[in-house]
């Protein structure tokens, strides 16, 4: 596990806590602020933060195309909160706002309300056993439309909150804000399995 190199997009947002979670799991963490830094990483975390800020920086500093291209070609990616918004194919609440348009679901931003409505929940996540996982939802997006090609790994009150499609994983909550590292472990296993299947193909 320790030879994996995982990038964390550090343009803006909750990147520190993701780095802490990943370091706990023994992987090497690389901060990614420009396109060149995407080379040589085995996976990438797109953290929470302000999706409007992050998309602008991706565009202004010409990271957008390189990032999108890498993910299309198979780079495993895990987006939380704003990261889930960026991976979506569109934002139903803010139709003009651009996304990376990679996963086949759409979201509504801040759909659970403002900060006063932010909440904690215990989630059952497929692949993580019976023991529920603590999750923090902060001004969270809600998936409002989803294609059959997207696998729902967890639901909360009837809405999908963690989903997977090919090499892409997205969560509307913040696993990095708790001590529980199982969601990050799941992402790491996903990277390893994808690596193995690529090697088997060769």
């Amino acid at each position: 596990m320790s030879n994996l190199k995982i990038g964390v997009l550090t343009l803006q947002g909750g990147f520190d806590k993701h780095i802490e979670s990943l370091v706990k799991l023994g992987v090497t963490v690389v901060k990614v602020r420009e396109a060149l830094e995407l080379d040589g990483i085995d996976g990438l975390v797109i953290p929470g933060g302000e999706s409007t800020t992050i998309i602008r920086l991706l565009k202004n500093f010409r990271i957008y195309d390189a990032l999108r291209d890498k993910i299309v070609k198979g780079l495993p990616v895990f987006g939380t909160c704003a990261g889930m918004i960026l991976l979506s194919s569109g934002i139903t609440s803010h139709r003009d706002q651009e996304t990376l348009n990679l996963m086949n679901y759409k979201v509504s931003r801040n759909d659970y309300g403002r900060q006063i409505d932010s909440f904690d929940a215990l989630l059952n996540i497929s692949g993580l056993g019976e023991d529920p996982v603590p999750a923090v939802f902060i001004r969270a997006p809600r998936i409002t439309e989803i294609a059959d090609s997207v696998e729902i790994l967890s639901e909360y009150e009837g809405s999908p909150v963690m989903v997977r499609e090919k090499n892409m994983l997205a969560a509307s909550f913040h696993p990095e804000l708790t001590d529980d590292t199982r969601v990050h472990s799941l992402f790491i296993s996903m990277i390893k399995n994808l690596k193995m299947s690529v090697q088997n193909q060769i």
């Binding site: 520190d16 302000e50 500093f61």
Partner: protein, 301 residues
């Protein structure tokens, strides 16, 4: 967050509020006085906006009592943007803060920029569901505010001057205070807590972790992208910009440049490009020319 640490024993509410502060890291929080400015700020990439009637430079110029803003104006800003909206309450003004909470503001700034309502006590912030940010000049002040429940700390600087010297002084003083605790043997911590006027439990945590238990941002005097980058270099995790944007010649460009400078604070080639051709910054006031009673930073107990 280990149960052994003070922060690990706090309420889920407080942790969730610190979580929002985490999401604002590496970003810029901009003062705006109306919906149009709020949209410009969001468009430029602000991570949040601070809704207030007058930017600190105008409060300084106008004099008189500075209070919480008109709820109508705050509501218009809440409607205009999708990023978090903050607003200021006077130090110790419990009711202004309760009103802001009732309006579902995302973060309350119990701010020295407004005229204090209480000259002895700050708000007990654990009693609120919404998060608070408070200013500090040193470690003791930061830890008193955190003890009261603040979910974010910002060093005060001297708001409305466009002079970075106080912001630098406060950040350096805070960091020096933290380094000192880290190097102290346990038996010296209680006396240090007494000297600082800070909770002992928080000193224990800082000795263990080497940092504040909440994000630590910088405010008060940022006028250029280089100023913002300097504060990041000195250890700020985000930057508040008050008068620096909308008191400059070209707010759109300056706002965008400051956002970029915070992300790329240690990439000097990029900073050179970012800083190019922004028009004149705010004129500013040299902090040395202010009398002590004209300084906002001294407000806070």
């Amino acid at each position: 967050m280990s149960e052994k640490l003070w922060s690990g024993r706090q309420s889920a509410q407080w942790k969730k509020n610190v979580g929002l502060a985490e999401m604002l890291k590496g970003g810029v929080i901009m003062d705006v006085v109306n919906a149009e400015q709020a949209r410009i700020a969001e468009e430029a990439g602000a991570a949040a906006v601070m809704a207030l009637e007058r930017v600190p430079a105008d409060i300084r110029q106008d004099g008189g009592v500075a209070r919480m803003s008109d709820p109508k104006m705050i509501k218009e800003i809440q409607k205009a943007v999708s990023i978090p909206v903050m607003a200021k309450a006077r130090i110790g003004h419990i009711v202004e803060a309760k009103i802001l909470e009732a309006m579902e503001i995302d973060f309350i700034d119990e701010s020295e920029v407004l005229t204090p309502a209480d000259d002895q006590y700050h708000i007990y912030k654990h009693d609120f569901a919404v998060p608070f940010v408070c200013g500090c000049r040193n470690l003791g002040e930061a830890l008193r505010r955190i003890g009261e429940g603040a979910a974010m700390i910002r060093t005060k600087g001297e708001a409305g001057t466009g002079d970075i010297i106080e912001a630098v002084r406060h950040m350096r003083t805070l960091k020096e205070g933290i380094r000192k605790i880290q190097n102290m043997p346990n038996e010296e911590l209680m006396t240090e807590a007494k000297e600082l006027g800070a909770p002992f439990e928080l000193l224990l945590e800082i000795k263990e972790t080497g940092k504040l238990p909440v994000p630590n941002f910088s405010a008060g005097g940022v006028a250029t992208p280089a100023d913002a980058a300097l504060m990041m270099e000195l250890g700020a995790e985000s930057v508040f910009v008050g008068s620096g944007i909308f008191k400059s010649d070209n707010p759109e460009r300056r706002a965008k440049a400051i956002v970029e400078a915070v992300t790329y604070f240690n990439d000097y080639k990029k900073l050179a490009e970012i800083s190019e051709d922004l028009g004149a910054p705010m004129t500013g006031i040299n902090c040395d020319d202010l009398a002590d009673n004209e300084k906002f930073a001294g407000r806070g107990w």
